[in-house]
Structures are given as structure tokens and as C-alpha cells.
């Protein structure tokens, strides 16, 4: 299939909307202080609409290409929106938008809000730039930009624990970035170009090509949270403010996956990779990532930590899907990418709502929380069901597709791994849900979770508090509407597409996978 290329500045302009507004917000923080939330929500919303506005062209099978001449080394970078990047861009920008909408509620009692919102926008710009970049150099540029700006977001609370977690993230991510740099360098040396073309740039097997592949996988895998370079992830997610965790886990991890996809299809080619047997190695790593992430998630008591390990497992699914190197596997992987962005984004927002309203972080203290925050926990339940992969939720479709693709590739063992992992998913999500709605017999410590009116107090030291303080009534703890709405929209996203007559997301994922395999 031939794709018509349209030259336009739109992708470049889109990327610089959040970046420039973030910079302005940072430098004029005093003057813009009272508008910071509106700016952040407005810009992320505008970003989503701008991406959406490219839909007609994409549907007609066009590729939007924007050359950006103002960057002289070693060639100008370009921006490109094709079927794949549009698919990622549209859903990611939506999740960013939701996380931005959720932020004011979560950040109400935090300090340095102007810095938070400024870097939120910068990180969004970096993340989307990574996806819309038309060559590896641009990808690397925005990848690093995103990595560094995210540091400030993760470290936002500035407590020693947070600083440690964020520091771990920073140094690992710098290492990962340099690893990508190494791969980039070899690619350029071998081929004299880093522009995404089809078929891939490197066609001849050589020692250097192997080194480059390892370097790329380490660099992008590190960002994605792939075993064995996932170690920053379980620390960074709980440390970050919840909307950031949602964006981090739901979206930014996926930039690593996106990098891998580009490496498979544009730097090398699927044939090349399967000939070199690299796919087997990566499938084994994916399997380990899935099982390890799920098993570790079971052991965590900190909710966000459990979610973080769960993210590792889910990333394993996606890596599995794309390294099956067939079209259905890629479709499944891409669809799961979108699914996971919604589910995990939602779960982290729910965790954030719980933290901000009750101060509870530990699962063991969450007994009966569903009775106090019913909507939040309903959303949590929806996301959990989707995670486990129960129809009609999105997670079911992606797991179904991944299983089919495994069979197609003649690797039924991965179906078993998917099933085991789904069971583990159920084992670590359902107890939360069950305990939340059915606290069981009220023992003498039923109010052990300390709860105060603004929900910001610490919950240890056996501080007693009673429900009467909490806005009165049983539902008094429910998150305010401006937090519920973004969660609700994401929850709808978890199943709406699967219920529609035409699964729009599925069509997009399919088109993206087809575009990668067809050329």
C-alpha cells in the first residue's frame, strides 16, 4: 500500500505548543500563577484537539511530514505523523489531558504548583515529540528532553525518599539515553542516515549491528521498564505525584516501546531480526518481564508500588506482542499499548484520589474504602477487570489477540504465560476490590485508617479519627467532581471501544500494524 506524503508544519507546531507554553509558565510563573491550572488543562486539551484534527488526513492514508530546518546537526530533524504515530498520539494526548484535568485536585495541598504545571507541559511536549519525530535523532532529542523534565515531576515532593527514587530514575535514564546514543551512532556510521525509512536502514548483519541492537534495546527497554533494567520503576512510580505516575506509567513507558518498534521496523527489519534470532532473546526477556512483574506485584502492600510492578508485567505483554514479528502480534501489542495507557492511567488516578482524600497508601488499610469512595472504587474495579482481561473490556481484546498471535507464530507457550499472568493479575487486583466493598466483619480497628477532613494527614501512629469529621456521611470522602470526571472518562475508555459496533481504536491499531508490515 502506498501512502501519500503531505508536507505540513502541523506536527512541528503541535509539539511546540506544550513546550513553549511550559517554558512561558516556568519563566513567568509569578504573573501566570493564578492561571496555571487553566493553562495546563487548556494546553493539553488543545493538544488533544490538534492531534485529533489530523485524523481526516490519516484516515485517507496520508502521512504528514514536517521538516524542521532550524536544527543544523547533522541534518535537520523532521516530524512525521503516520498511522502508527497518530494512533499513539491520539490516545496518549487524551491520557495526558485527563491527567492534567486530575492534577488540580491532587495538587491542591502541594507546594510549587507552578513548577509542577510547567514541567508537566514540558514533559508532555517531550513525550509527544518522541512519538512524532520523523527520525532517530529527533526521537533521541525529545526522548532525553522528556526524561530530564520528568525528573523534576518525580522529585516534586522533595522528601528524601522521593529524591532518592528520582535520583535513581535520573541516573538510570541518563545511562539509557547514552545507550540509545551509542546505537544511534553505530546506525549512522553503518548507513549514513538516521531517517525512518522502509525497509530498515541496516541490512547487513555485522558485529556492530548486533552491538547497536543491544544498545537500543537496553536504552529503550530501560525507559519501558523491561527486565533487567526495570529497577528504577518500582521506586519512581510511588514517589511521583499520582497524575505524574499515571502519565509515567500510562504513557512515558510506552515511548520506550515505541522506540523498540522503530528499531525493529525502521532501523532493522523484521526479517533481519528473525534471521538473527534476536526475537527469541527478546521473547524470553518479555516472558521473564511478565512473570516477574506479576509475581512481584503480589508481594507489594503499597498500592502504587503494586501498580508499578503490574506495569512492568503489562509492558512485558507489549514487548511480547511486537517481538512475535507478525502482524497480529503487532496489532495486539499496539492495542494493548492503548489499553494499558487507559487502564493504568485510571488505576493511578484512583490511587491518587484515595491518597488525597484519605492519605492511605497501603492496601492493607483499604478495607471498606469502597463504601466511602464508591465512584473511585467502581472505576478501580472497572480497570482491574480490564487488566485481568475479562470481556467486554479492552484488556480482553488485546490478550485475545496476543494469544492468537502467539499461536500463529507457533509459540503456544506464551499463551500459557499470558494465562498465568492473567491469573496473577486477578490475584493481586481482586482482593483490593473485594476488600474495598466488602470489609467483612467490623473488627475493633475498623476505623484504623486515620482520616481527617482534608485527607492530608499521615495515617500511621495509630491516629484515630472518625467518620463524622469527614464531611459527614458515608460518601463524604468521595473525590470532588473535577477528579471524578477524568477518572470516569478513562473508565469509559476501558470498555466503550469494545462495545461499539466498530472498534475505532482497534481499526487504528490495525491500520498502524498494517502500515508497518505492508511496506
Amino acid at each position: 500500500m502506498e501512502y501519500e506524503v503531505v508536507y505540513t508544519f502541523l506536527p512541528a507546531i503541535i509539539i511546540f505548543v506544550p513546550i513553549i507554553s511550559g517554558i512561558l509558565l516556568f519563566f513567568f510563573s509569578e504573573r501566570l500563577y493564578s492561571y496555571k491550572e487553566y493553562i495546563c488543562i487548556g494546553v493539553t486539551g488543545l493538544f488533544f484537539l490538534l492531534v485529533l484534527s489530523m485524523y481526516p488526513a490519516i484516515r485517507e492514508g496520508k502521512i504528514l511530514l514536517g521538516l524542521f530546518q532550524y536544527f543544523s546537526f547533522p541534518f535537520s530533524i523532521s516530524f512525521k505523523v503516520d498511522q502508527l504515530t497518530f494512533f499513539l498520539g491520539i490516545f496518549f494526548s487524551f491520557v495526558w489531558f485527563m491527567a492534567a484535568c486530575f492534577s488540580p485536585g491532587y495538587m491542591a495541598h502541594e507546594h510549587k504548583k507552578e513548577r509542577y504545571y510547567a514541567f508537566f507541559l514540558l514533559a508532555e511536549g517531550g513525550c509527544m515529540g518522541t512519538i512524532f519525530a520523523g527520525d532517530l535523532l529527533g526521537l533521541f532529542l525529545f526522548f532525553e528532553f522528556m526524561a530530564l523534565t520528568t525528573y523534576v515531576l518525580i522529585a516534586h515532593e522533595e522528601t528524601p525518599v522521593t529524591m532518592f527514587a528520582a535520583g535513581k530514575y535520573l541516573y538510570m535514564t541518563v545511562g539509557g539515553g547514552l545507550s540509545v546514543f551509542f546505537g544511534l551512532l553505530i546506525t549512522f556510521y553503518l548507513t549514513g542516515s538516521v531517517v525512518f525509512t522502509r525497509p530498515g536502514l541496516i541490512t547487513e548483519p555485522s558485529g556492530l549491528a548486533t552491538v547497536a541492537f543491544v544498545a537500543f534495546m537496553l536504552g529503550f527497554g530501560l525507559k519501558a521498564g523491561m527486565f533487567p533494567v526495570h529497577v528504577w520503576l518500582p521506586d519512581a512510580h510511588p514517589a511521583a505525584p499520582s497524575p505524574v505516575s499515571a502519565a509515567l506509567s500510562g504513557i512515558m513507558l510506552k515511548t520506550g516501546i515505541y522506540g523498540m518498534i522503530r528499531v525493529i521496523f525502521n532501523v532493522y527489519s523484521p526479517d533481519f531480526i528473525s534471521r538473527a534470532n534476536w526475537d527469541t532473546v527478546m521473547l524470553i526477556i518479555a516472558a521473564i518481564t511478565i512473570l516477574l512483574g506479576s509475581a512481584m506485584a503480589l508481594l507489594q502492600d503499597d498500592l502504587k508500588r503494586r501498580l508499578a510492578y503490574s506495569s512492568i508485567a503489562q509492558i512485558g505483554y507489549i514487548i511480547l506482542g511486537i517481538f512475535l514479528l507478525n502482524q497480529s502480534g503487532l496489532t495486539g501489542g499496539l492495542y494493548h499499548l492503548f489499553t494499558h495507557a487507559f487502564m493504568k492511567g485510571l488505576l493511578f488516578l484512583c490511587a491518587g484520589a484515595i491518597i488525597v482524600r484519605t492519605g492511605i497508601r497501603n492496601i492493607s488499610q483499604m478495607k471498606g474504602i469502597g463504601l466511602k469512595m464508591p465512584l473511585t472504587m467502581v472505576f478501580f474495579t472497572i480497570a482491574s477487570l480490564a487488566m485481568v482481561g475479562i470481556p467486554p473490556f479492552n484488556g480482553f481484546i488485546s490478550k485475545w489477540q496476543l494469544s492468537l498471535a502467539s499461536l500463529e507464530a507457533g509459540q503456544p507457550v506464551f499463551v500459557a504465560i499470558l494465562i498465568v499472568s492473567s491469573l496473577l493479575n486477578a490475584a493481586y487486583y481482586f482482593p483490593i476490590v473485594i476488600a474495598a466493598f466488602f470489609p467483612g466483619e467490623k473488627d475493633s480497628h475498623h476505623d484504623h485508617e486515620s482520616v481527617t477532613d482534608d485527607g492530608c494527614s499521615e495515617n500511621d501512629h495509630g491516629q484515630e479519627a472518625d467518620d463524622h469529621l469527614c464531611y459527614g456521611g458515608r460518601l463524604g470522602l468521595e473525590a470532588p467532581w473535577h477528579m471524578v470526571i477524568p477518572m470516569g472518562l478513562l473508565a469509559i475508555g476501558c470498555f466503550a471501544f469494545a462495545l461499539m459496533p466498530v472498534n475505532w481504536a482497534w481499526e487504528l491499531a490495525l491500520a498502524a500494524a498494517r502500515s508497518l508490515f505492508s511496506m
Binding site: Q69, S72, L178
Partner: protein
């Protein structure tokens, strides 16, 4: 290379004379008309920049500006501005203007900085002379002028530590001078010439020339602080006033590198170097410098000292590119000279601003300093991030070319060293920026008050910070194209 049109011009002599005259002028101004002093100083460094810019169009179109003063037989004082000299000359004169402006801000009290400026101007004159030299003898002459006038700058604070550091530097300079002297003598007796630009005077790698090569390495290695000849540097930087440390780091180190480039490409010639494999000596030294410098930088709590050790590592990069003897690597080397100058200059000036405003030199005391001086620390952060080699910063470009050069030379493993050193860079620079801005919720309000900063100190600092990325985000990367042209001339 020999077919270049040669233009005889008096301008090179003027360029190196201006700062000398400026020094004398400043001396008189201090005595009779103190309000004219700053004008004299700034004028005497700005004029070389203007004249260098005047020469640029000719040189960039392939002409060579030449001037022979028959003073020192047998070789004579010979100025010869080819593309490499032009690049260095522009860089040095531009940097010296900025540093001089900063120094005027640094020594607000005119009495305090009086003598400092005289020696500073003499040192600048030496640097400019070095960059324009047309033969090794001239190079030697200006090199010594520059080094010796730097001794009082190191010892300027006049405390025991400063004297010690100054003395140490003085002895190292003497050793460097003696080594260079021997090298020049050997070169002249074996080849009968010292001139640059003939594409290599030496035709065969005789043993006596190996001695000369080692002498050159020692002489220029001391100046550019290659391990194990770096020992003067951390002490000198910690003891010297910031402008002195800055000018040493961003300009004088580079004269050592320039000397080695001349030795490699103009005295010995590529064929000899490659046949004999002498470049491997430098290669090993460079790699050790890159790693050792970075590791040592970790352990330092004194900011200037940390910057000094990091400078050792950075010079390691620069010399690595030279030692790899490939075209791409040389592009990296030449570009890195500029990249490092802007990055390290910015950091040193930040250290100076912090010192002058708060009296702090220890990194551990600098927690939350970003609240007091956000712009300074933002500039520092830019420099710190650029040091890792992330696009769109300069260091990405130089590391890129160094990496390509390493693969070209068949040694991709060297890239791992490069990357390791980059990670180390990040891990000793980032904590400074991070502690400056983050993790300081418990600070008192008094410590969060913004300080009023002097524009004369801030503007040079911001120019340096902007220099860390301004060329790469332009549509036309001017230093890179110059670096490429220079490398093309040699390969």
C-alpha cells in the same frame, strides 16, 4: 595545502600587541586616570576580536595570512593564520572578551584587581600569539609568555595555599618549557625547519624523534593537564580567583591541545605518526584522563576542584579525538574545544558568582542555593545537562563525531569509555543542580531570598550558557562547518 594564496599582513602582530599595549595602558590609567582603565582593558581585548573577524573572510576562502618578523634566528617570529589558527583565534579572542568583562564585574573594587588585569592581559596576548604562530619557535615563545604570566594569577589571593599552588604551577611550567625547548631543538636539528603548514616535517620515525615526541607530549600535556601531568591543576584552580581559573580552563588548556595538534599534523605528519604508532601513547593517556578525571571529580567537595578534575576528563575527550587520527575524530576534537570552552566557562563563572555573593566554595554548603540565585543555577544546570552530551547541546555534536571517529579507527570499545565518562559527568554535576533547586523544603525564608546580582557578572555567564546550545539550534552550525573544513585540510 601548499597552493594556498598567501597574504602578508601586519594584522597578526597588531592582534597580539593590543592586549600588551592594553596592559601598559591600564597601568597608566590606574596611576593617572582611573576612570579610563576599564575602557582600556575592554578595548584592548575587543580590538583583537574585531581584527580577527576582519581576517575571517579571507582565511575562510582559503587564503593564509602571513607575517614574518626576523627577530629570533634561525626560525624567526612567524605568524601564519590558517583555518585552524583562525578558529582558535576567534574562539580565544571572543572568550577573552567575555572573561575580561566578567573580571571587571568580579573585581568591583578597582584596587583589589589592579595587578590582576595586567597579567591577565599579558596572558591573553600570549594565548592569541600561540594561536597565530607559524612555527614551533614562535609557539614556544608565546606559550612561555602565557604560562609565566599565569603564575601570578594563580597566586593572586596571596594566602599560603595560593602561593603553594602558584609555586607548583611555576615548576610545572618550567618543566614544560624545558621539555618544549628540547623538543624544538631536536626537531630543528633533524629536520632543519620548524615551520607549520608543510604537512609534516619529519619523514622518518627516528629514535631521536621519539624523544622529541615524548618531550612535546610532556610540554603540552602539562599545559592541557593530561594524567599524570595534571597535578598542578586542581590546586591551581581551587586557589586562583575565578577569572584566572576560567581563562586557564577555557583558553590555556586549549593552547596545549593546539600544540599537540600542530605536533601531530604539522611537525610529524600523519604518516609518521601512524607508522610508528606513537599516537597510541596519547590514546592511552587520554582514556586514563577521561576516566580518572571523572572519578576524581566525584570525590571533590570544593566546586572549583570538581570543575578542575572534570576539566581533566574533558581534555581527555579532546585528546582522544586527536589520538584516534581519523577525520571524524579530529572534527570532534576541534568542535569539543569550543564546546568545552562554553560549558566549562559557564560553570566556572557560576562558581565565581556563588563565591562572590555568598562566599561558598563547598558543594555541600550549596543546598538550596537555587532559591537565592535562580538564574545562575539555571545556567549551571544548562551547562551540566550539556556536559552529558544530549542534543541539542554542543557536546552531543562533539561526542557524536568522537564516537564516529572511534568506529572509523576500528575501536568501537572506546565509545563505551566515552559513555561511561558521560554518565560519570552526569553523576557529579547533576547533584549540584538538584541540590540547588530541590530537596530544600526545610530551608529558612531568609535563605530563599533572591540575591541582587551584578549584570557585569551575569551577562558573561549567560552568554556562555547560551553558547552551550546556540550553534546547534541554528540552521547553520558554523563552528561545525569550520571544524569539518579543518579536518578536511589535514586528511
Amino acid at each position: 595545502m601548499q597552493h594556498n594564496q598567501i597574504v602578508v599582513s601586519i594584522i597578526p602582530a597588531l592582534i597580539f600587541l593590543f592586549p600588551l599595549v592594553g596592559a601598559v595602558g591600564a597601568m597608566f590609567a590606574d596611576r593617572y586616570r582611573s576612570e579610563w582603565r576599564n575602557g582600556a582593558i575592554i578595548g584592548s581585548v575587543t580590538l583583537p576580536l574585531l581584527f580577527a573577524a576582519l581576517l575571517y573572510p579571507g582565511v575562510s576562502s582559503g587564503k593564509i595570512v602571513y607575517l614574518l618578523i626576523n627577530l629570533l634566528p634561525p626560525a624567526g617570529i612567524e605568524f601564519r593564520i590558517d583555518l585552524l589558527s583562525m578558529y582558535m583565534l576567534l574562539l580565544f579572542s571572543f572568550l577573552s572578551v567575555i572573561i575580561i568583562i566578567y573580571t571587571i564585574g568580579y573585581y568591583k573594587n578597582k584596587q583589589e584587581g589592579k595587578v590582576f588585569f595586567y597579567f591577565m592581559l599579558i596572558a591573553i596576548s600570549g594565548c592569541l600569539g600561540v594561536s597565530m604562530s607559524g612555527n614551533m619557535l614562535t609557539f614556544f615563545l608565546f606559550f612561555e609568555l602565557m604560562s609565566l604570566s599565569f603564575v601570578p594569577l594563580v597566586a593572586y589571593k596571596s594566602n599560603p595555599g595560593a602561593y603553594r599552588a602558584g609555586l607548583k604551577f611555576f615548576f610545572m611550567t618550567i618543566i614544560s618549557g624545558v621539555a618544549l625547548f628540547w623538543a624544538v631543538v631536536i626537531t630543528y636539528t633533524t629536520t632543519g625547519s620548524l615551520a607549520f603548514g608543510l604537512g609534516g616535517l619529519v619523514t622518518e620515525g627516528e629514535p631521536v624523534l621519539a624523544v622529541a615526541f615524548v618531550c612535546y607530549l610532556i610540554a603540552f600535556g602539562i599545559k592541557s593537564a593530561v594524567i599524570p601531568l595534571h597535578i598542578w591543576m586542581p590546586d591551581a584552580y581551587a586557589a586562583a580567583p575565578t577569572p584566572a581559573a576560567t581563562i586557564s580552563s577555557v583558553i590555556m588548556l586549549k593552547t596545549g591541545v593546539l600544540g599537540l595538534i600542530r605536533v601531530f599534523h604539522d611537525i610529524f605528519g600523519l604518516t609518521v605518526i601512524q607508522e610508528t604508532g606513537w599516537n597510541n601513547i596519547l590514546l592511552v593517556l587520554a582514556i586514563i584522563s577521561m576516566l580518572y578525571g571523572s572519578i576524581c571529580a566525584f570525590a571533590q567537595d570544593d566546586l572549583n576542584r570538581r570543575l578542575a578534575y572534570s576539566g581533566i576528563a574533558q581534555v581527555g575527550y579532546i585528546l582522544l579525538g586527536l589520538a584516534l587520527v581519523t577525520e571524524m575524530a579530529l572534527v570532534g576534537t576541534v568542535y569539543h574545544i569550543m564546546a568545552h570552552a562554553f560549558m566549562k566557562g559557564c560553570m566556572f563563572l557560576c562558581a565565581g558568582v556563588i563565591y562572590v555573593n555568598t562566599g561558598k566554595t563547598k558543594i555541600s554548603e550549596m543546598k538550596g542555593i537555587g532559591m537565592q540565585m535562580p538564574v545562575t543555577m539555571l545556567a549551571f544546570t544548562i551547562a551540566a545537562v550539556s556536559s552529558v552530551g544530549i542534543p541539542p547541546f554542543n557536546l552531543f555534536v562533539s561526542k557524536w563525531h568522537l564516537g564516529l571517529g572511534a568506529i572509523e579507527a576500528g575501536m568501537p570499545a572506546i565509545i563505551l569509555v566515552l559513555l561511561l565518562s558521560s554518565i560519570l559527568n552526569a553523576s557529579y554535576y547533576f547533584p549540584i543542580s538538584i541540590n540547588a533547586f530541590l530537596g530544600c523544603r526545610e530551608l529558612q525564608n531568609i535563605e530563599r531570598q533572591r540575591l541582587r546580582l551584578q549584570p557585569l557578572r551575569m551577562v558573561p555567564l549567560l552568554i556562555f550558557a547560551a553558547g552551550a546550545f546556540i550553534f546547534t539550534i541554528m540552521p547553520y552550525n558554523w563552528p561545525l562547518s569550520l571544524a569539518r573544513a579543518i579536518a578536511q585540510l589535514y586528511f
